[in-house]
Amino acid sequence: MIPPAFEYTRPTSVDEAVRALAGAGEEAKVLAGGQSLLPLLRLRLAFPELVVDVGRIPELRGVREDGDALVIGALTTHHEVVHDPLVRAHAGLLAQATATVADPAVRHRGTLGGSLAHADPAGDLPAVALALDAELVVAGPGGRRTIPAREFFVDYLQSALAPDELLTEVRIPKRDGWGFHYEKFHPVAQSWAIVGVAALVRRADGGVAEARVGLTNMGATPLRATTAERELAGADDSAAVARAAEAAAEGTRPSQDLSASPEYRQHLARVLTRRAVLTAAGMG
């Protein structure tokens, strides 16, 4: 199908982009890689009056270190994230999970910032950002502010971004030495995760000292499995991990759709959490 008509602007700086957004109010959409927006436009599920193409703003690209944090430009593509040596060294979970997003051609265009700003709970990266305790830096007319990932995902396809704000970079605390694993469960390679589990584990004495678990597609927003995380702390064998993982679905309200019932999703969250944590902990 054919996208509806829209006005188009291609700013060359963040300030220019923010001005364009501010001028258009609710009716503007940011176009980064377009891998979420273009299908929506083609199915005529979105009718923006203005599309602000931020794809040519150089300052939004690239990965750098900033002390204990890794700073990834919002416009960094999935392909770049997967292959970036800094990401692989300090945020391996993100690299691993990003490699499961869609397919190679989509990963060439799709961006980290775009995936997070789209705030789709079925997307793989929001849960990863939660697990990593990422911070999202956004620019608006009043300057820049930083939003912790746990406050960024507000509702289904809804983030804490104001209409006149642009996500500029993602700051991720380095977790060198932590084990990690993203366990994505999907019926065919190309489909969205029915459930995904992002696990980060600090190991000690052959067991789990501390764990952080993000859940994909277990509600209107990505979630942390906080109860399971608590119970995982100190789990010193696989049986203990399995017991703790039983709490992974606690507090979740997953949806019913073509591929799963809520009960099944909760069941999967428990199974996949166990598997992800065991793998992340090297106990699998």
């Binding site: 199908m1 054919i2 469960f185 019926p187 065919v188 489909s191 029915i194 019913q256 073509l258 099944y264």
Partner: protein
Amino acid sequence: MTDQAVEGEVGRSRLRKEDARLITGQTNWTDNIQVAGLLHLAVLRSPMAHARITRVDVSPALERPGVVAAFSGADLAEGLGSLPCAWPVTEDIVQPDHPPIAVEEVRYAGDPVAVVVARDRYAAADALEAIEVDYDPLPPVLDLEAALAQDAPLVHADKGTNRCYTWPLATGESFDAVRERAEVTLKRRYHQQRLIPNAMEPRAVVVTPLAASGEYTVYSATQIPHILRIMLATVTGIPEHKLRVIAPDVGGGFGSKLQVYGEEVLALAVARRLGRPVKWTESRSEGYLATHHGRGMIQDIEIAATREGRLLGLKVDLLADMGAYLMLVTPGIPILGAFMYPAIYKMDAYAFTCTGVFTTRTPTDAYRGAGRPEATFAIERTMDELAVELGLDPVEVRRRNWIRHEEFPYTTVAGLTYDSGNYEAATEKALALFGYDDLRAEQRRRNERGDTVRLGIGVSTFTEMCGLAPSRVLRDLRYGAGGWEAASIRMLPTGKVEVVTGTSPHGQSHETCWSQIAADVLGVPFDDIEVVHGDTKAAPQGMDTYGSRSLAVGGEAVHRAATTVVEKARRVAAHLLEASEQDLDFRDGVFSVKGSPEARKTIQEIAFETFTNHDLPDGVEPTINAEHVVDPENFSYPHGTHLCAVEVDTETGKTTIRSYVSVDDVGRVVNPMIVEGQVHGGLAQGIAQALYEEAVYDAEGNLVSGTMADYLVPSAADLPEFTTDRTETPAASNALGVKGVGEAGTIASTPAVVNAVVDALRPLGVRDVRMPCSPHRVWQAIQEARSGGAPAAGGTGGTGPAQSGQSGQAAQSGELGQYGQPGEEGPA
């Protein structure tokens, strides 16, 4: 599968002639066609499953930029007949009117209600949004069983019923009688989910009118240019000789382009009305609504057998979802399967009934296999159930019942005469390639250990009737046309050859294979042959391509036409070589006089000398061209044994195919490489039905698997490497000895996979998993079994007809409704 020791072209893995344009981007898809002044047609479709149209106002669309015209159904109704159904399977079939565009009532989500014609496709898409339509909703009809109830809402109120037809067949002894004496009976219900064919090329049509002479050229992404021409003439009233239909390069069909579609008629009607060329191209999600679906049946199957596992009789009752209207061969699809339920097995009684039911869904029609996959699934699933019931190996229970190779030709209980086959040979080969005994041993060990990931082994021994079809049989089945196929061979003066075929390929490699056949008979180089097809002006006579018929019927026609060319050339050669015809040898394209091999003429030289006609005797027509129309004397009956091993993760429900072995017997093989490719593709589609694909409707009748993101067509990453092999038992019913291979893989594979999934889960008490065996469904089936919701697998030594099984379908209660009760919940 090597082609060692092949002397001629037939049997050789010739690389394809078709490829050069396809791998360089020079293909001529219908949507590629550009002509001066081309207008784009867009179709507004009903958002509701069932409603009365109370108002359509297209005038706001006319205000939009670039719009040339807009029409409601009422605007176009005059001069357009009903879309055709060529297969009224019974005398009293209910055949509703099927306008190409709805006028008073819409009967499925996607039914066309208005069209816009604009200068480009963007303007046309925009203008659709300006059209105003008011609907008065009517109740949807979705459940096949409920639709037949006395007070059910009706899809076609004027018909007074949702029952389209009931088609019975009872052969051999009475089933009731054999059930009386049976020691074991089994009854199962299977659901054939609706499938969306998903040819990779979306449908498209371009119509270019020549107003002055009232001539129209219709380019369409169709499998059936010849049939389409006749039908378009009938529906529009344009005389047939003023219509030329061209199927350019066509990107797959799988039955979905064996159709006369409303959009083809509308494009032609609008081009006629405006005197301008018109193009319509569907988008994928539009096609999901507007291109016919496949399958869609509830199958109740009952078998009666002895305790030794010998089948006595089979009874099948089908409910078949017609969808909202009867399209070209909609009612006949289940009937194509009717003769195949007895499959490769001997038995005494067979009773079959099919009831076609109207629903407010997209019409169904042919999809790869068309009736035969459904039949094969039901019998092969049930044979596994019988094996479990009797404690026999599933291969053994088949062996006890199949027709032995020395029994051919064999007339089955359903009345078909299978000309040839060797089920023993195919099965032995498959078992060896598969490592059957080792896998069974591993399965036992893993079951004993109680592994989380279980191993399951599935068997499918299948046959099919293809090579459609003997025309007299088609008459008896009330099919509206014959089953012949035409070929002609034009021997060009320079020695090049044109093979003109009535088949219409869309991926099947006819250009290559027909060249191989003709090259062998004529003795001319493969590269000197061009195959002409898909244009009613260039290849005027044909019955087109479907039902694995092209080689067995169309290839045979090429073979016979070429043989006639040689006979005609022999006469000319005899004159030119001053010898009698009987004294001529013909070998490798050369006529030579017996005993004096230096006196020789090639057939290509003879073509030239026939053209000049300088020295032909009186009474000899100056042509060695020939044509032949073949009406097959019988169907052909490919068969094979497929074995599938799956790993099922009982925690998540995910099934992974570990190995897949197929041994097919498709008779003599023209091109082994192409045959193997056909099998691969067939397997992928059959596996997709087993594990992935389903057209799902919600309780209001909306298609919720409405885009390619929701309908799970498997990718390379989802499918295994197949091990394919063949046995070769030539068909007796054609000179080439060929049987057809287009549908074999699809027909055989679905039950092999589902049998494997169920086999993996039987130790957990699961007796069936409804297709597609998605992770969710498998998990649900396991949960049901664990909670005692499904009866444990057989082996209870039941006496008499006690084993009436709900086949574990309770597992599906949470699903979105399709053929059972529509579920309450829509997609979140």
